[in-house]
Amino acid sequence: MTGSSSKGGNNSYDYSFKILLIGDSGVGKSSILLSFISNSVHDLSPTVGVDFKIKMVNVGGKRLKLTIWDTAGQERFGTLMSSYYRGAHGIILVYDVTRRETFTNLSDIWAKEVELYSTNQDCIKVLIGNKVDKDSERAVSREEGMALAEEHKCSFLECSAKTRENVLQCFKELIVKILEVPSLLEKGPVIIKQQILKQKPGYQAPHNGGCCS
């Protein structure tokens, strides 16, 4: 029920948003997600493939269901993974402020990936510089981050998944922006596309369901 409302039951919500976390390996995508979801911080193994977490939040009087997708940082499995870009309402582009190449790769690689694969024209992007707790090792200045954000017309924040500084704000910033875009609150193009694909014969009545042919 992308972008549409659902009432009734304990899991009711006004809107459901799909959010993606992308960026280089080891910039802290999974840690940001964990920090946001469970308030805990610990070392995580590299993400293989994709994973997602669901969180219900209240923003601006609306009850929202967030499905946040965490992806592997190495872009090797592009064609298999790119399908997950589809229908995203929001994309969080993450770099590590202590590793400059993770910042340059955002514009060199990841921004292009997003352009190529994301299906929602109005999809909201936010640029996040992670690991500000390691300020002495900083290799990308705040100003550079802001400049890149401006270039890609997105919001910019610096955070630390470790200290949880600004983590909530990153998501809030994104959600508030999504809520301002009417097209993202309607049934997105994804749903329409899916219904076209759904021309297969419908679900068979359960009594036909045999086993072990």
Binding site: T2, G9, S16, G49, F52, E75, F77, Y84, G87, D108
Partner: protein, 548 residues
């Protein structure tokens, strides 16, 4: 491969009348569930009873039997150190009961094809020395490249802070003083402390580098041009070649998949041809990601490698420095030491098999091997043996992954048409939800001990196939299940089938199944899984093999 192109959003459901995220959903869904419940319970019962009825898994006797013991292992050898009957008895034993942890380091090189099953002790000693030298040569090349890329990084830091390597700095790097630095760094590398008999002089790599200036220059330039090509590719987000390969392979897929996996395997280029990967990644990229991943390997293996307890902080830091590890200050000495070993071996592998290089997930596969095998060069060659098959999981064209997901899908379709129809309804019949299990061979879902058990059994099957111990030999010894190259995929299908009821009754989107699969950790019994996998092999092997 249309089905692989997911068009789902996280919350969308294929059945528009049912809510997407609620097991307690609408009344119509509850109704549907109750109908399904009845169907499932009866069909599941008929399934298992019919399977159990006609063929018995060899693993069902595992409770009475113990893993291959050190004593049994020694008895398997003749006086000249050859395995009796070409290893048939050995493999049969391992595939039924696994290996005692105390002899894993000795047994794995046989399972992974480092040593031939018919080799004598003498032959193995020769191979061991030869392979150790080959590994050391790869390590030397890695250190040269690392040093070079660090220099290049510093040079470029202010202007263009990329990791691209330019030919200028490569030439500069051939300077003889840098070479000496590398040799001294090498001496501090942990694993090589224990190899005092290393000979430097007879190494072709050294000879090459110590040769006259013109030949040195020539070699270096070749490398540099290869590096340049790759680094310019890395600017584009899509590698045209990879795209073409991917599309043509999906069209001609059926043909490809009929090929035996062994035919599909392209022998890794010789080390002399290194850095020829047609990838949008280059060696410097791999070096960087390897280091990022090595320090975040999970520490579950620590209790399994007691000699790590004696690693001093100095020694750990020394080994970390030798491979250029960063950001390890928060780790325990034994973790630092382990991470440094992972880096050394993964980097050598990237050079050895540049078509694959390094891909995330490979550290998951290496970590248990490094834990079990204390010598880096032995661990490296075991890893090479493991990767002969597993490398397809990391191919840029994704053919290996697609083939395996297809087989899992096919197994589920043949075994449980009801579950399969449910997956089709959710557009999940491509089985993308088992992706992680396929890529890292259950490493994330099983504990260290469980993983090693599963892998040993799987390796024994693959070793049997390599040694040509085919169906006839197994039937002669009255073991019905033929060895298969794809035991893992049967185990993956089994883990999904074990959850059929839950999937059919409660899950109405691919995402929910993915989440179920990604949270299987700690929920699996490895011997039950192998039992079920084996039942599937016995009943479906011919059917599945015929169609791929």
């Amino acid at each position: 491969m249309k089905a692989l192109r997911r068009s789902h959003t996280s919350s969308s459901s294929s059945n528009s009348s049912s809510p997407s995220f609620s097991s307690s959903g609408s009344s119509s869904w509850i109704h549907l569930r109750s109908v399904l419940l009845i169907v499932n319970s009866s069909s599941a019962a008929s399934c298992s009873s019919s399977d159990r009825g006609h063929l018995k898994s060899p693993w069902s006797r595992r409770i009475k039997k113990h893993a291959l013991t050190p004593r049994q292992w020694r008895r398997l050898f003749t006086s000249d150190g050859k395995l009796h009957d070409g290893g048939v008895k050995f493999l049969k034993k391992v595939r039924s009961v696994g290996v005692d942890p105390s002899i894993r380091a000795e047994v794995w090189p046989f399972l992974l094809g480092v040593y031939d099953l018919n080799s004598s002790k003498e032959e193995r000693d020769t191979i061991r020395t030869q392979k150790r030298k080959e590994y050391e040569k790869l390590r030397r090349q890695c250190r040269l490249l690392l040093k070079h890329s660090n220099e290049s990084f510093k040079l470029n830091e202010s202007s263009k802070p990329s990791i691209n390597i330019d030919s200028g700095s490569l030439v500069q790097y051939t300077d003889s003083s840098s070479f000496e630095d590398v040799v001294s760094a090498r001496e501090s590398l942990s694993s090589e402390e224990r190899s005092p008999d290393v000979e430097y002089s007879d190494d072709p790599c050294i000879t090459l580098l110590e040769g006259d200036d013109s030949s040195r220059q020539k070699t270096t330039n070749t490398d540099a041009s290869a590096l340049n090509t790759e680094s310019s590719d890395s600017d584009s987000s899509e590698d045209p070649e990879a795209v073409i390969q991917a599309s043509s392979s999906s069209e001609g897929q059926e043909k490809n998949e009929r090929d035996e996996p062994s035919k599909e395997f392209i022998s890794p280029s010789r080390t002399e041809l290194h850095l020829s990967a047609p990838a949008a990644e280059n060696f410097a990229t791999w070096q960087r990601i390897i280091r990022v991943d090595a320090v975040r390997d999970n520490s579950e293996w620590i209790p399994y490698f007691q000699s790590y307890a004696s690693v001093s902080e100095d020694r750990a830091c020394c080994s970390a420095e030798a491979v250029g590890l960063k950001d390890y200050e928060h780790l325990e000495p034994c973790q630092i030491f382990h991470a440094a070993r992972l880096v050394a071996i993964l980097e050598a592998y990237a050079l050895y098999d540049p078509e694959i290089g390094y891909c995330q997930g490979m550290s998951d596969l290496l970590s248990p091997i490094v834990t079990v095998i204390t010598e880096d060069h032995e661990a490296f060659w075991c890893f090479v043996g493991f990767m002969k098959k597993a490398r397809h999981n990391f191919r840029l064209d994704e053919v290996g992954i697609r083939r395996q997901l297809n087989i899992v899908s096919k197994i589920i379709k043949c075994k449980d048409s009801h579950l399969f129809r449910h997956l089709e309804k959710l557009q999940a019949e491509d089985c993308f939800f088992v992706y992680r299990m396929v890529v890292v061979l259950f490493r994330r879902e099983l504990t260290f001990e469980q993983t090693t058990c599963l892998w040993e059994v799987m390796w024994a099957d693959q070793a049997a196939i390599r040694a040509g111990i085919g169906k006839s030999a197994w039937s002669r010894i009255r073991q019905r299940a033929p060895p298969t190259d794809d035991l893992l995929l049967y185990a993956i299908a089994a883990s999904v089938l074990q959850r059929r009821k839950l999937i059919i009754e409660k899950y109405n989107s691919m995402d929910e199944i993915l989440r179920e699969c990604n949270s299987m950790a700690g929920q699996l019994n490895v011997w039950k899984l192998l039992d079920d996998a084996h039942d599937l092999v016995v009943n479906l092997h011919d059917k599945i093999e015929a169609s791929f």
